[in-house]
Symmetry: C2
Subunit: 121 residues, 2 copies
Amino acid sequence: MARSPTTLDPFNALAEAKRRQILEKLAGREMTVNKLVLELGWPQPVVSKHLGVLRQVGLVSAERRSREQVYRMNAGPLKPLHDWLGTFERFWTDHLHDIKQRAEAMARSAETKPPSDQEPI
Amino acid sequence: MARSPTTLDPFNALAEAKRRQILEKLAGREMTVNKLVLELGWPQPVVSKHLGVLRQVGLVSAERRSREQVYRMNAGPLKPLHDWLGTFERFWTDHLHDIKQRAEAMARSAETKPPSDQEPI
DNA sequence: TGGACATATTCCGATATTGGAATATGATGG
DNA sequence: CCATCATATTCCAATATCGGAATATGTCCA
């Protein structure tokens, strides 16, 4: 077999730093492709393609305004990711947890190890 | 040029669903590779490789315990992602914002467009 | 020491992604 | 209708990734 699917989910869309930058630019304000090109300094096709990916996963939407295409962020799909990451919050908040685990690990190896001996079980 | 770098940052590491599953398994408890293989049902090399990626970005760490290798989650690197996503929270929480933007967009297009013209469906 | 067990690594084919250049599509104004 | 602006799409080369099979590495036990 080969590579797993991709561009279908927001996690993957955010894997690319450029796409995260685009979202940062679009936070709170609409923007034209051209404006993005100017502010980001990338070739226009690059910008358009990344916008395309973001659109596919629903993170941005576009509206044609006369000759221009105005992009807007759609933060909704970010919430599940934020929530998912949130489920791990206690593991980085609770330092005690890390410390405790480390201590236990140490204790365990101390138990199994007679002081200055070799590795038993 | 070609594809951008990758496996170097946690965002990319999480792009793969399998790696997210591994983290879920490791949440709060240490686990042996074999235990992961059994619980996840994937071939052992697949598990080892994904663990390797997670280790590279610091999301897990391993400790050799006799013949086995015990993996443990290291949630630290997840915090920046959670924080980054958090900066967009108001955009999915604040529905008013969306509504307002939509209204403004509508108003704008009403301005630009002669009052009672045809409205394409 | 040899053999079983646990895990990591290498080699490989299939595929997907990215950026770049060129071009297509779409809309506007004269 | 044409020239131009604004954006999207296509074609392409380079590369990275994933999974699978086989194999290497490392460790313990008889």
